[in-house]
Amino acid sequence: MKSEEFATAMMNEHYTLRQLNLMVRDAIEMHLPDEYWVEAELSECRENSGHCYMELIEKDERSNTPVARASAKCWRQTWLMVKPYFERTTGQPLRVGMKVLLKVYAQFHEAYGFSWIVSDIDPTYTLGDMARKRQEIIRQLKEEGVFDLQRELRIPTFAKRIAVISAQNAAGYGDFCRQLEENEYGFRFDVTLFPAIMQGEQVEQSVIAALNKIYELQSNHTSQFSPLSSHFDCVVIIRGGGATADLSGFDTLALAENVAQFPLPVITGIGHDRDESILDMISNTKVKTPTAAAALLIDNLLHVLEQLDDASQRISHAVNQRISNQKTKIVTMTSLIPTLALRVVGDQRHRIEMMENRLPIAIERRLTNQKHLLESLNIKLQGFDPQLLLSRGYSITLKDGKAVRDPQQLKPGDEIETRVEKGTIRSVVKN
């Protein structure tokens, strides 16, 4: 400040704003001449003409209300060196919400006001803070019991209806679709894109919105038709592109909770060289790139195809075996049946012949029996022949042709006949 200006000001006891600001500037330059390492959170951050403009904030840990606030600037020359180092180390650019450790010195410009000028950034502080936050999220997910939920799901056997969450025109999505379409086995996939912002601040909100849309379609479909049928088989979250891209949006609790509890298996292919993102940790399957995600889906169907081929081979083998067994049986039986049938005929013939033989025997025996019977009757009859008695000297007396058995039958004068062996004597009864 020029001395006459100051003198005029003193005399009038009124200051122009510039005069007063210059006093502040002097005071600051006098009392805060050093550089300081300061911990702060970024509440704003933007680049303009190669400079980086930030708003720093400190929040009360419990109430989350700001207790300190200040602007900070990083001039182009510093920013050119600090920025790549920071991004290389942390894997992401400076962004709102980030905790940073800045080396600053104070500057008060009478026209532009107070600002901390950044001369260096320590990315390891941010890295540590990010790691701590990640650990905190992981701990919370485990505590909620959702950390392993996705891994309990299985990518369906015939997974071909794929819901994709990706940026609309992303190269990664193109790669994914091309890979699926050009698979060498001719599998047809049914891909539906649910566009989302895959970089920066809006990732969380945008991906959750896409998940909700998928869930809505899925549950409508499920209630409308059979509970077994569904709209999609699985969800694929992919992004492809720049290595330095900001993946921090994939490391938030809300997104992790949504993915973890999603009823369909989620495959992530969000591509990164650094640590696994939390999304990768909780997803059903993680791969590095969209192309790898497509390859995974193709492999899944290929595995099914192989199983089907195997099953069909085994079935046809078993069927052929059965048929050939039956053929052999039929051939054996064909040669056996006539023989068996002829044997039956032979048996029958034998049976008939046996009976044929038995008949004359039975008849012969019957007739012989009858002859014997007649003969024995004849002999018996012979025993009763009176001539036999007469020849032994007996005689029979007859009156009127009837045998006389009692003398009372006769009276004197009756004529009787007496038969003896050699003739008949006629006589008259005297008394």
């Binding site: 040669s335 049976r351 009976m355 007739l367 009858q370």
Partner: protein, 65 residues
Amino acid sequence: MNEEIKYEEALTQLETIVRKMEQNEYDIDELAAQLKTAQRLIKFCKDKLTKTEEELQKIQAEANS
């Protein structure tokens, strides 16, 4: 004899006659008539068997050709 008669029926009739013959269940007067019937049945059965045998052999020859 009725041509419609089946082999099994003929066989049963024949067996009945033979059994009755052997157990003297016929009168002497019936014997001759029953013997004639039996012989007709025997001829019928034998013819049937011969015919069947020929048919079987023919089928077998066809199957093997």
